[in-house]
């Protein structure tokens, strides 16, 4: 039997690792499963709708939702809402990333800090956003900063935990090599620990983004400003209006933003893996 045949058996095992083929075939390979998945979900939804399982005002038709989405996208408010929330998300995430990275780096390598704060970080991560609302208002009154505070408290622990996990698993051999080259303290971090834990850090940042985004959509209810629509307020507002169509179309928007965010992280991750010889 030819070795070709043997390795044919491994085709599945290699999924996602093979990069060959033309650009067109790569695009096609990346696209058809998404289209299929989408068609599948829409199909189920439509069939359930047709089955009359629930009243249309509880479970609306896909067509109606997309019509609503189309209507919404034609309004400036819709785009303002997205822009406002994205801006807050990015600012909050950047802040959280800064704090999380520094905190994680410090806690990972300084034993007393780790003993003091290690478990507290996870504990903070499990604290629901609403628990922070009173403190946010107390510290920042009704201001954008109150939202950022909630976002940072939501995301920073997650990012810090990613860093800690990454640092903990840096291969000791590389650490020893770095130290032998005279890398100390910050230099060791900059040239060895940080790059070696980059995969875990990217993964932590991705989780952090999810925390940030969720905290943000909750936290936006803290500061509701006229003429400054925001996704979180929109979602809550539509929910209060029991507008199933609107809620689902907003969920689609959140979903799409999530997909785009993932694309950014995946891109970073893929580049990393390619450089490291893993993809």
């Amino acid at each position: 039997m030819a070795a070709d045949t043997l390795s044919g058996l491994d085709a599945l095992d290699l999924a996602g690792r093979e990069s060959g083929g033309s650009t067109l075939s790569r695009v096609w390979a990346a696209t058809w499963p998404k289209v299929l998945a989408l068609a599948f979900v829409l199909g189920i939804w439509q069939v359930v709708y047709w089955s009359g399982w629930r009243e249309p005002w509880v479970l609306p038709e896909p067509r109606e939702v997309f019509a609503d989405l189309a209507r919404a996208t034609a309004t400036a408010d819709f785009w303002h809402a997205i822009a406002t929330t994205l801006r807050r998300g990015l600012v909050g995430f950047a802040l959280a990333a800064g704090i999380g990275l520094v905190l994680g780096a410090a806690v990972a390598r300084v034993a007393p800090l780790r003993a003091a704060l290690g478990s507290a970080i996870t504990a903070l991560q499990t604290m629901p956003s609403i628990a922070w609302f009173p403190l946010a208002i107390l510290l920042f009154q009704i201001s954008e900063n109150a939202i950022l505070f909630v976002v940072v408290l939501g995301a920073a622990p997650s990012i810090a935990n990613g860093v800690i996990s990454g640092v903990d698993y840096v291969p000791p051999l590389l650490l020893r090599a770095g130290r032998n080259f005279g890398a100390r303290g910050l230099a060791l971090y900059r040239y060895v620990v940080a790059p070696a834990s980059l995969p875990a850090i990217v993964s932590g940042l991705k989780q952090g983004w999810a925390f940030a985004w969720r905290s943000l959509l909750a936290g936006e209810l803290l500061v509701i400003i006229a003429h400054r629509p925001a996704l979180g307020v929109r979602l809550q507002g539509l929910r209060e209006q029991n507008d199933a169509v609107g809620v689902i179309s907003t969920m689609i928007v959140i979903f799409v933003i999530g997909v785009l965010a993932d694309t950014v992280f995946s891109y970073a991750d893929r580049r990393l893996r390619r450089a490291w010889g893993l993809a």
Binding site: M1, A2, A3, D4, T5, L6, S7, D10
Partner: protein
């Protein structure tokens, strides 16, 4: 297919049957475009069943790449590779490639576990294999607690646990002192004979190649091509410090030196 055809084909097929490995015009190119590396270029090589073939060549000439192709872990860019009986050859990698989450015994026992060998039998076989590589007392250790040479020996024991008829070994004794290596030469030769294995053995030590091989195959550098193929006629048992082995080694070394010089190093 007529009766005559069958009759005329049979002897040929029987001859082919005795070939354990057949590489026909195997090429391997890494990457694409101007940055492409032509690691192997139309390598053709046959290894008879039960033969011990040593592969030598300069650093970076494509020896590991070749083993990896034969093991079916990579696809050749061109040419075909046939492994008789379709059995996947066992490969001992150039690095120990031990699993850090398993003990030494766990690592050696993994191929057995994958073949669903019962626990009791496994324990017996693992300790026999560890004795073979002189690490009997180290079964409970973790890879990170071993020295470089010990790790290499664990990797060897693990590859032997595969029980494949064809064994590919990539510098298995590179990290061992001369004494331990001599002992393991005897061990591998014994196992090869006992199990009637076919071995493709990469080494940098030409004496080692002469000590162990039925044949020594020399690969040139970038692109890797088969440039020489000696049959070692020294009868076994052989001693690595015997003058016959030294003579073979000298001849191979001369050719290798010439080859390396031709490539400007």
């Amino acid at each position: 297919m007529t009766a005559e055809d069958v009759a005329s084909v049979l002897p040929e097929r029987a001859a082919a049957e005795r070939l354990a490995l057949t590489l026909a015009g195997v090429s391997k190119v890494f990457g694409r475009g101007p940055a492409a590396v032509h690691a192997l270029d139309k390598v053709s090589l046959t290894v008879a069943a039960g033969e011990f073939v040593c592969l030598v060549g300069a650093s970076g000439c494509g020896k590991s790449t070749l083993l990896s192709l034969v093991a079916g872990l990579d696809q050749p860019t061109g040419g075909t590779i046939d492994v008789a009986g379709g059995a996947r050859p066992g490969l001992m990698f150039q690095e120990p490639a031990l699993f850090p989450w398993l003990t030494v015994a766990g690592n050696v026992g993994l191929p057995l576990r994958l073949r669903k060998v019962p626990r009791a039998e496994r324990a017996v076989r693992v300790s026999a294999l560890l004795r073979t590589v002189h690490l009997a007392e180290f079964g409970k250790r973790r890879p990170h607690q071993l020295s470089g040479g010990m790790r290499q020996r664990v990797a060897m024991a693990r590859t032997l646990a595969l029980d494949t008829p064809v064994l590919l070994m990539d510098e298995p004794f590179g990290a061992l002192d001369a004494m331990t290596r001599d002992i393991l030469h005897d061990e591998i030769e014994r196992i090869w004979q006992e199990r009637a294995l076919t071995v493709l053995f990469v080494t940098h030590n030409v004496r080692e190649a002469a000590r162990l091989g039925d044949r020594i195959v020399l690969l040139s550098s970038r692109p890797g091509r088969v440039v020489a193929d000696w049959r070692v006629e020294v009868p076994r048992p052989r001693r690595i410090d015997s003058p016959e082995i030294a003579a073979v080694a000298a001849e191979v070394t001369d050719r290798l030196r010439e080859e390396v010089r031709r490539h400007g190093r």
